[in-house]
Symmetry: C2
Subunit: 286 residues, 2 copies
C-alpha cells in the first residue's frame, strides 16, 4: 500500500499494471472515510486488479469557505481504512498539484442537471468544481471503472453526463447509500453533529421513507412530497429542497417512471443531504 | 486509408495499433485542407506509426452563423489529400456524433488566454468551443502527439493550457505557418477572397514583417506596432487588433523576451488572422 502525491508518481505506479492489461478501479473521495466509502472500495476490489483511492478535499467545489475549513481531514486513518478495505494505492495530492499557478480550465455542465437542487442552493460553481476535479482524476488514473456513492445523487447524474459528453473511456459504477442502524445516511459531515442535532437529523431519512411509503400506497407526487414535509416538520426542519424528480434528467417526476427523491436541509451547524430512488413496481428499501 | 464517422469505430480501428504499442499521431482540422494542414500531416507521419486526421467543422466555435454556413466543405478532396500526405485514418463525424441530444458539457478557459484578442472579438464562446472539441478529439483518439498550426497562435496557447490543466496525456506539437509565394498565410477562408481583396490581404503579412523589422532594428513595442499599422493603412485596413504580446501568457510584450505579433482584420467578405513570433536574438523569418 503506497500513498502518492503527484500525477507523475501515480502514473508511474500504475504503468506496469496497465502494461500488463490489469483492470484499474478508482474510488474518488474527499477523505474522512466512513463505511459508505469503504463499501465502494470493496466493490472496486471485487471488480479490479488494482484499486486506487483518491483523497482530495477539492476546494473548487465548496461554495462556503467555512464548510471547506471545517471539512474533516484524517489522512492517516483514511490510508489505514482504505488499505483494510482492499485499496492498493492512495492518491492524495496537495491542491497546488491539481491547480498549479496559472491554472485556468473549468469543465462546466449547463442546464438543469447542474443548476437545479444542489446547484441552485450552492451555486453553479459547485458542480463545475465537481465536474472539473472528477475529469482530472479520471484522466490521471485512467481507470476501467470508477465508483461513486448513490447518496450524492445529483453528483452521479452530473458525472455520468460529463463522462458521456467528453467521451472519457471509463465505466461509472454507483454503490448504495450506507446508513447507521437508525437510518442516518453516512456522511463525513456527521461528526460535526451534536447529540441533539444528530437525533433531529434522523427526520431526513424518515421523510424519505414517508415519501416512499406514500408513493407505494398510490399517492401522487404532491401528496407524497407533503408526507415528507410533514415528517421534517416534526423536528422543525424546513428543508432547502425536498424534490421528486426523474433520476436521469432531474426534470419533474412523471407517473409510471422511477422517482428520485432528494432532500437537503441544514441541521444545526451542518448541511445534510439524503436521497432514495423509488421504482413503481419495486419500491426501493430505504 | 479509411474514413470513420463514430468514436466507437475510431477506437475500434485504433485498438490493434494501440495494443501493439504503436505511436498514434493526430492532426485535428476543420477540413478544406491546404498546404498548411498537409505540412502537419507530414510532420505527424514522420513521428508516428499511425496518423489520424480529423475533419470536423465544429459548430460551437463559430460566433458567426454566416461564417459557419460559408465555411468550405470539401471532404472527398480532403480525404485524398490527407492520404497522399501520409494519413492512415480520417475521422469525420457528424455534429450529432460529438454533440448528441442532451449534450451539456463545456470545457472553458478563463482569463486573458481565452478572453483577449480572438476571444474579445469573437466572444468567449469561441475558445470554449475550441477547448471542448479539442478535448473530445484528444480523448477519442488518445494520440501520443497532436499537431496544430502556428497561424492560430492563440488557439495553440489555449490548447496547451487545457492539456496541461486537465492533464490530458498528449504531446502538443506546433507546425510553422505555411504561406503562398507572395506571403499570404494559407487559410481555408482564402478561397472566399476575390482577386482585389486577395491583393489587399497581402498587407497583413507585410504588416507583420514591418513589425518584425522594426523590432529587429531596435524599435520599442509601440513604435514597432505603429510600423505595422502604417503598412495596413496602405490598403485601407483598420485591423480588429494588431497586438504584440508574450507568447506564453498573451500579456503585453516585455523587452528582452520573445514577442508574439498577432493581427486580425476583415478584408472584403473574410476575416483573416496572421501571426509571427519575433525572438530578440534571432528574429524569425516571416
Amino acid at each position: 500500500m503506497r500513498t502518492v502525491r503527484t500525477v507523475a508518481a501515480l502514473r508511474e505506479a500504475l504503468a506496469p499494471h496497465r502494461a500488463a492489461g490489469q483492470r484499474i478501479g478508482l474510488v474518488p473521495t474527499m477523505g474522512a472515510l466512513h463505511e459508505g466509502h469503504l463499501s465502494l472500495v470493496r466493490a472496486a476490489r471485487a471488480d479490479s486488479d488494482v484499486v486506487v483511492v483518491s483523497v482530495f478535499v477539492n476546494p473548487t467545489q465548496f461554495d462556503d469557505p467555512n464548510d471547506l475549513a471545517a471539512y474533516p481531514r484524517t489522512e492517516a486513518a483514511d490510508v489505514a481504512l482504505a488499505a483494510a478495505a482492499g485499496a492498493d494505492l492512495v492518491f492524495a495530492p496537495e491542491p497546488a498539484e491539481l491547480y498549479p499557478r496559472g491554472y485556468a480550465t473549468t469543465v462546466a455542465v449547463t442546464g438543469p442537471l447542474a443548476e437545479s437542487l444542489e446547484g441552485a442552493q450552492r451555486g453553479r460553481a459547485h458542480f463545475d468544481g465537481v465536474a472539473t476535479v472528477v475529469t482530472k482524476l479520471l484522466l490521471a488514473v485512467a481507470p476501467d471503472a470508477a465508483w461513486f456513492g448513490a447518496k450524492d445523487a445529483q453528483q452521479v447524474v452530473v458525472v455520468r453526463r460529463v463522462v458521456a459528453d467528453l467521451g472519457i473511456p471509463v465505466r461509472i459504477e454507483v454503490g448504495p447509500t450506507v446508513r447507521d442502524a437508525d437510518g442516518l445516511a453516512m456522511s463525513s459531515r456527521n461528526v460535526r453533529l451534536g447529540p441533539a442535532d444528530r437525533t433531529r437529523a434522523l427526520a431526513l431519512s424518515r421523510a424519505l421513507r414517508a415519501v416512499q411509503d406514500a408513493l407505494g400506497g398510490g399517492a401522487d407526487v404532491p401528496a407524497a412530497r407533503d408526507a415528507g414535509l410533514t415528517e421534517l416538520a416534526t423536528e422543525g426542519i424546513d428543508p432547502e429542497y425536498l424534490a421528486l424528480v426523474d433520476p436521469d434528467t432531474l426534470e419533474p417526476a412523471e407517473p409510471g417512471r422511477p422517482v428520485l427523491v432528494l432532500v437537503a436541509a441544514r441541521v444545526g451547524p451542518v448541511r445534510l443531504i439524503d436521497t432514495v430512488t423509488v421504482t413503481p413496481d419495486a419500491p426501493g428499501a430505504l
